[in-house]
């Protein structure tokens, strides 16, 4: 494993995208960045630019207008990338299952690597999920070599 790849796993950069969620999971992701949980301890930095990101954190169910935006964003994140669906709605549509403008979970549009359950997902669970995703990222690189 090269130095660059190793350091990428040690310091994953995150892109947060809000589909059409209720804000519950979004503020929990923001809460992860604030002093009490402070994910910057792990080198995670929240990025506004998809081309800088390694990990895509997605909240909320996919609706008909954001599906296109989501596909765009996914195409822009450089390989190898990890997609994390945060919260029940992002995993399967959850309570919005019979809303007409909702397509369902994120996996209807793009492949998802890790699902974080919970409504809203607790900050601890989000940290757990990102750690799990990084294990997958490390193993992906191992296969490549």
């Amino acid at each position: 494993m090269g130095l660059i790849e190793k350091s990428r796993i040690k310091s994953p950069w995150i892109l947060h995208f809000d589909n059409s969620s209720c804000n519950g999971c979004d503020i929990e992701i923001l809460a992860c960045l604030t002093p009490l949980y402070d994910v910057e301890r792990f080198g995670m930095v929240n990025m506004g630019n998809p081309k800088h990101a390694d990990v895509l954190l997605i909240t909320g169910p996919v609706n008909r207008r954001t599906a296109r935006v989501l596909k765009n964003l996914y195409a822009q994140v450089p390989d190898p990338k990890i997609v994390i669906a945060v919260g029940t709605c992002a995993s399967s549509g959850g309570v919005f299952h019979n809303c007409y403008n909702v397509l369902g979970g994120v996996d209807k549009v793009i492949p998802v690597d890790v699902y974080i359950p919970g409504c809203a997902a607790r900050p601890e669970a989000i940290i757990d999920g990102v750690v799990l995703a990084l294990q997958k990222l490390a193993s992906l690189r191992g296969d490549k070599k």
């Binding site: 959850g94 309570v95 669970a125």
Partner: protein, 131 residues
């Protein structure tokens, strides 16, 4: 900026505010809603929880005697635990861990067999509340 000084000094000399999560796990509160757990021994597959679940996270198959639970759909609203007439559903405070693929949990309720004898014994007792 001078008005910020007391806070800055306090933070400088005080301990860290951060909860060092994976190293030190803070236990959630006693009645926190973490995840749903089923008791196969008590469940009679009456279907109340399946009908009342707002997220359709539960389904049942009476012929195969199966109660199916989809954790990825559950919104942890506690409705099923509240309305279960046999108190077969409980909420435990620990949150559910993330997963790579969506799990499907199948339960084989045995409440009917064990419940029958008990029911006959308690036939004179007040019937279970069910709204």
């Amino acid at each position: 900026m001078p008005w910020m000084l007391p806070t800055i000094l306090k933070n400088f000399f005080g301990g860290p505010a951060t909860r060092l999560y994976p190293a030190e796990v803070r236990e959630p509160f006693e009645h926190a809603r973490g995840q749903v757990s089923f008791n196969e021994d008590k469940c009679t597959l009456c279907g109340t929880c399946v009908r009342r679940c707002p997220a359709e996270a539960l389904s049942q198959d009476k012929e195969k005697n199966e109660l199916v639970f989809y954790p990825a759909r559950c919104i942890i609203c506690e409705v099923c635990a509240d309305i279960c007439p046999r108190k077969a559903i409980d909420l435990i405070y620990k949150w559910r861990l993330p997963f790579y693929t969506k799990p499907v949990e199948v339960y084989k309720p045995r409440g009917k067999e064990s419940g029958k004898a008990e029911k006959e014994a308690a036939a004179t007792r007040e019937p279970a509340l069910n709204n």
